[in-house]
């Protein structure tokens, strides 16, 4: 069941558009903001609220890579793996992170603290290599800077 708060936020979005289903992405974002990810049950609830089918909503949810259909860690690390960061050494950043956290691309640490994901160009190419943790950008990375950065995220 969606919370009353979630429903209220989604209804505010519905009001912006001529059709209810246009609020689908916003609804998914709202649910994810509150719960960290979107489970099957909430797909069903959103579908009901927006007069859509379960499949339609799930089709949208699975299209966009920033809607998580599986649980993620408390903090998500997005390492840029696009071309400039490739030339400037993102692979050594990934290796250090992977080794330190004991996880590979797409995995979450057993304590649920971090999920590690590759991400296309973060728009930081003039300061490559770059990554984000949650909403924070980090750039001009070297492997030895990572320990200190990760310390900030519990």
């Amino acid at each position: 069941m969606l919370t009353e708060h979630e429903i209220k936020e989604i209804e505010k979005e519905i009001a912006l558009y001529p059709v209810k289903s246009a609020a689908c992405i916003e609804a998914l974002k709202i649910v994810q903001q509150h719960r960290g990810w979107v489970a099957d049950e909430q797909i069903k609830d959103i579908a009901q609220l927006l007069d859509m089918s379960y499949e339609e909503v799930d089709g949208v949810a699975t299209f966009y890579n920033m809607i998580f259909r599986k649980p993620v860690g408390r903090n998500v690390i997005y390492v840029c793996n696009s071309v400039t960061c490739y030339m400037m050494g993102y692979e050594s950043i990934y290796q250090k992170l992977s080794q330190k956290l004991g996880i590979q691309w797409g995995e979450t640490t057993s304590d649920g603290r971090f999920t590690l994901l590759p991400n296309p160009c973060l728009g930081d190419c003039d300061h490559a290599p770059a990554m984000m943790i949650n909403s924070d950008h980090y750039n001009r990375l070297t492997p030895d800077k990572l320990d200190e950065i990760l310390e900030k995220y519990k």
Partner: protein, 424 residues
């Protein structure tokens, strides 16, 4: 040298508030457009300025606007700013979004008046979190000042503008996919025609322009087409945000007259190659443009000249390939991006790009054959413009086809030496 687009951008990274923006003459152009100008007159002024779209394709902005039928006062029309900016190597709109949001809003108000549009959206990619905040703050400020909403500048013109933050996927930058995404759908592109100018968001006439494109509009309205054209070194109007990334001494972003040469950018602004690295080639405007090499260094970076050199100006943010990066690995990285980001709608792209990626990976591993080169060449034809539903796959082929032209010896060495010569 005049730098209208970046004149308000502060070095400390904070955004230009509405008070600061107005102190520098901000919103005067919107006031003039709303209070004193007819819609057609605005569109004609923009057309005369020869502003070419900064999203990559370089289409004349005023011309695009002129395709919208504005005769029906009761019809809903939309203006949309494309701030998806997910093209690898591109980081120009970010500066404008984070540093001077009111310039974009003002440009969109003027566009809305030209198109008699009552609603607009600013579509910003997921990763630009700081931009989400500055744009939202600026929208609130503009509403408070009466520049957005009902009867703006005391006129009978009303315009509402909203921020939409995206949830990922490069294809959202393609304008019809962006429109589908705004409608809450999967971001698959739509068939064209009809073009969005005829049938766009919710089936209504819609204009999609790049963020940098809109940012030019207030300056054109304020200072006129003659002034605007004189900013440029070419017949295409204005200045341009140019970027350089890769193994150069001073990677960065600069606003310069349209038509500075590749050489000036690479050496005068980016400082030339880093110690120990040699120049091999560059993609002039993001991941989906053809390589330029040594012989092209004196090419002016305007749409027509870069096209004549066999590539595209694209986003104007260049990616430099150095001699210590394997060109096959470089292209493989690009193709992996495009294969991942294919929206899956049409078969040539959905099936072809992963195939190309596998072949490149195989060559890079030292297991490629000469037949693989033929397969790559076949794809550059098979995925050429016209064969796929949108421009994503043809764009992906641009760096590949030009790499096969300029760096074919390097591809062949992988095949003959059965390893990547760059791997120790």
């Amino acid at each position: 040298m005049e730098r209208p687009l970046t004149q308000n951008i502060k070095a400390d990274g904070t955004y230009c508030t509405i008070d600061e923006y107005r102190r520098n003459g901000g919103y005067e152009a919107a006031r003039k457009a709303v209070q004193e100008m007819e819609s057609q007159q605005i569109t004609q002024t923009v057309k005369d300025a020869n502003l070419l779209g900064r999203g990559g394709a370089g289409f004349n902005t005023g011309m695009k606007w002129s395709f919208v039928n504005i005769s029906n006062p009761n019809e809903q029309r939309y203006v949309i700013a494309n701030g998806d900016e997910m093209e690898p190597g591109t980081f120009k709109d970010r500066l404008l979004l984070e540093g001077d949001p009111h310039q974009l809003i003002e440009g969109m108000i003027i566009a809305a008046k030209a198109l008699k549009a009552s609603q607009g959206f600013i579509f910003v990619r997921w990763a630009y979190k700081k931009a989400h905040q500055t744009i939202q703050k600026a929208l609130d400020e503009a509403y408070q000042a009466g520049f957005l909403g009902k009867n703006i500048f005391g006129s009978n013109f009303s315009f509402d503008l909203h921020l939409h933050t995206s949830v990922g996927r490069y294809i959202c930058g393609e304008e019809t996919a962006l429109i589908n995404s705004l409608e809450g759908k999967r971001a698959n592109p739509r068939a064209k025609p009809p073009f969005p100018q005829i049938s766009g968001l919710f089936g209504k006439p819609t204009i999609v322009n790049n963020v940098e494109t809109y940012c030019n509009i207030p300056h054109i309205i304020k200072n006129g087409p003659v002034w605007y054209k004189a900013l440029s070194r070419s017949s295409e109007g204005g200045t341009k945000l140019y970027g350089v990334s890769g193994r150069v001494k001073n990677p960065g972003l600069w606003e310069l007259p349209l038509g500075v040469t590749v050489r000036e950018l690479l050496f005068d602004y980016a400082g030339g190659m880093q110690e120990g690295y040699k120049f091999r080639g560059l993609l002039p405007g993001g991941a989906s443009t053809d390589f330029l090499v040594e012989e092209h260094l004196d090419t002016p970076m305007d749409f027509a000249s870069v096209a004549k050199a066999g590539s595209r100006l694209g986003t104007g943010t260049m990616i430099v390939l150095d001699d210590q990066t394997c060109p096959v690995a470089f292209v493989h990285n690009l193709i992996r991006f495009f294969a991942n980001e294919s929206c899956g709608w049409c078969t040539p792209c959905r099936e072809g790009l992963p195939w190309v990626e596998k072949i490149l990976e195989k060559i890079e591993r030292g297991e490629g054959t000469e037949k693989d080169i033929d397969i790559l060449r076949f794809h550059t034809k098979y995925l050429a413009p016209g064969n796929t539903f949108c421009a994503l796959a043809p764009g992906a082929m641009e760096p590949l086809q030009s790499a096969l032209k300029y760096f074919i010896d390097d591809f062949n060495r992988h095949i003959h030496e059965k390893k990547c010569p760059w791997k120790k």
